[in-house]
């Protein structure tokens, strides 16, 4: 039986409790709570990306594609057919999952850079389609979700705090999904694929299937984030929802700055980066256009150069179960202790 409360788990628990209580302590309509909601939403997006980027080490630069599919699917279903975004959210997840399968078939043989390029092109394709197929998608103008007051059944609330709690719940769900994946059988296989694909195959791992499953789950969760984002902001357009720098890169960057492939990484990364960007925006955007984005780029470069393993690298490593290692040492010939 392992200890239930490692420092990491305690920290996570404290984080979620503190986050849940935050709306009681800040202005429920204020800017601060909106920023906090964005932190949580970006943490959830980065965690979704982390499933593919961190666990399977498939560097996707196209997750904005899944995000946008989620936003468009739920919003179009609502605007055209009056279907509640709560349902549309899952429809979006299915659409994104399907897109992930379609994208995977041709691209999974690709490694590293090639995969990054192909996924980048995927999101760009969607952006171009959304821009040009104006009859259906609203084109470059984007889509607005009409304000309806408080209609919980239609994912519409008056108070920012309601959205905030929904987003927090989403983050918890995504983190749970990540944890279950990472620590379960699939997690073993994904790490094996990440570290040596040929050796994984020879050891009996169906590498294609493992990557496909991870990719579909990641895409579906990202799409759900997209729906939530659309409901929260009431408006989006193709260039922002399929944005390479604004979304695809940012999701990945949060996970990387926090710690690739770790459970806490995306949360740490979002807690660090989003407020930093907000502050930079607030103070710098009046100074010169582009300054805050410039700072964003510099931070990304600095993060890669200073600590490519992310903030989590400074977190105390979880102890392995040394206790179990002291089981009776059966005749240890060639292996002379570690």
């Amino acid at each position: 039986m392992r200890t239930l409360f490692t420092p990491s788990r305690a920290a996570l628990l404290i984080f979620f409790v503190a986050a849940a209580l935050l709306p009681f302590f800040v202005d429920p309509r204020g800017h601060l709570l909106r920023v906090a909601a964005m932190v949580l939403l970006f943490a959830a997006m980065a965690q979704s990306w982390n499933i593919v980027g961190g666990l399977a080490n498939q560097i996707s630069l196209g997750h904005a594609g899944f995000f946008g599919l989620g936003a468009y699917t739920s919003t179009l279903l609502f605007l055209k057919l009056g279907i509640s975004p709560w349902i549309g959210m899952f429809a979006g997840a299915v659409v994104a999952g399907g897109a992930a399968v379609l994208l995977s078939i041709p691209t999974f043989r690709l490694k590293g850079h090639y995969f990054a390029l192909a996924t980048l092109a995927f999101a760009e394709v969607l952006r171009v389609i959304a821009n040009s197929w104006a009859d259906f998608t609203g084109g470059p103008v984007g889509l607005s979700i009409p304000f309806m007051g408080s209609q919980p059944a239609y994912f519409a609330f008056r108070a920012v705090s309601s959205y905030y709690w929904v987003i927090l719940g989403l983050l918890a769900a995504v983190c749970l999904a990540f944890h279950l994946l990472a620590s379960g059988a699939l997690g073993y296989r994904l790490r094996a694929v990440r570290e040596n694909e040929n050796a994984a195959e020879v050891a009996g791992v169906n590498t294609f299937r493992v990557k496909l499953i991870a990719s579909v789950i990641s895409a579906a969760l990202t799409a759900i984030c997209g729906t939530v984002f659309a409901q929260f902001t009431f408006f989006f357009d193709p260039d922002s929802i399929f944005s390479l720098a604004g979304l695809s890169v940012r999701m990945a960057m949060i996970a990387i700055v926090g710690g690739l492939g770790t459970l806490g990484g995306p949360i740490l990364g979002a807690l660090f980066l989003i407020p930093l960007e907000e502050t930079a925006n607030a103070f710098l955007s009046s100074k010169a256009a582009g300054l805050s984005q410039f700072v964003f780029g510099v931070i990304l470069i600095a993060a890669i150069l200073i600590q490519p393993r992310g903030l989590m690298a400074w977190w105390p490593k979880p102890r392995r179960r040394r206790a179990e290692a002291s089981r009776p040492a059966v005749a240890a010939p060639a292996a002379k202790g570690a």
């Binding site: 980027g53 041709p106 390029l117 092109a121 582009g290 990304l300 150069l305």
Partner: protein, 283 residues
């Protein structure tokens, strides 16, 4: 039809030179430079300022673009890229993506967001051959691209530095053993790669306006060209450039203008999926 073909070839020659730089960087350093199109933008600005302040025609200013961006590239490689050469692809990808964001926004701060264009006497002139009309700026840009490609070929074949670059691309370890300073060579190759692209940016200035976001228009195009030709293959990139130019100008005959890029993307993904080693190389 024939008109579209010729337009395509003229465009494509320039695309070829632009993408050659990207391919060279990958071939020698093994790094996919996502920020590459930003150096195209820098090259365009250098040429624009050379035109504005010195009255230089962009075709001449392109030499200045080449030199200045070469220096910038050399420094960027030695201070930043050098440090991730042995890092996993994720670190390389995100370092260059960070560079992309930083350069684009630095340009926005320094140059402002307005679109700038040059005016040259031959801008609307052209040559007529029967039914075919050849725009002068396109023709001159193509000619400049061809000259530069030839110079590049000579340089890589004949000069000691060029041969050192090729040696390092083939086997860095062996090159070190025969006395090549690999670090310096990496810097030179990167500088040369971005300078070629900057040159390409400068010569198209007479028919394309420059703004800080112009790189974005070229990213996928550039990668499509390079992937068609085989990542790392310089000759392949030139051929790939012409193919893309032709596809692009032919597709305007069939598709509305916004879908032109879509066509490219589809080719891009298809080629990546079916022949990641490139269509031209070894085809």
């Amino acid at each position: 039809m024939l008109q579209a073909l010729i337009d395509g070839i003229l465009l494509g020659g320039v695309y070829g030179v632009i993408a050659t730089g990207l391919s060279l960087v990958f071939g020698v350093l093994g790094v996919v430079n996502f920020a590459h199109a930003e150096f195209l933008m820098l090259g365009m600005y250098v040429a624009w300022f050379a035109w504005r302040w010195l009255g230089l025609d962009p075709l001449l200013g392109s030499v200045l673009s080449f030199v200045i961006v070469f220096a910038v590239g050399y420094v960027v490689q030695r201070t930043l890229i050098e440090r991730v050469l042995k890092a996993p692809p994720a670190a390389q990808v995100f370092l260059t993506v960070g560079l992309l964001i930083a350069i684009e926004n630095a340009a926005l701060m320094v140059f402002g967001s307005e679109f700038r264009s040059v005016s040259v006497p031959y801008q609307v002139q052209g040559y007529r051959l029967g039914d075919i009309f050849i725009g002068a700026p396109y023709l001159y840009a193509f000619a400049a691209a061809v000259i530069l490609a030839a110079a590049l070929w000579l340089f890589l074949e004949r000069s000691w530095t060029g041969r050192a670059i090729r040696a390092v691309a083939q086997d860095a370890m062996a090159a070190t053993l025969v006395g090549v300073d690999t670090k310096r060579t990496y810097g030179l190759a990167f500088g040369l790669g971005v300078a070629l692209t900057a040159f390409g940016g400068a010569v198209i200035l007479p028919y394309i306006t420059v703004s800080p976001t112009v790189g974005g228009q070229f990213v996928v195009l550039m990668f499509t060209v390079v992937v068609l030709g085989g990542l790392g293959s310089v000759a392949g990139a030139l051929a790939g450039g012409i193919m893309v130019g032709v596809v692009q100008s032919m597709s305007t005959l069939i598709f509305p203008i916004q879908l032109q890029n879509l066509c490219l993307f589809v080719i891009f993904i298809a080629v990546l999926a079916l022949r990641p080693q490139g269509l031209i190389k070894g085809a």
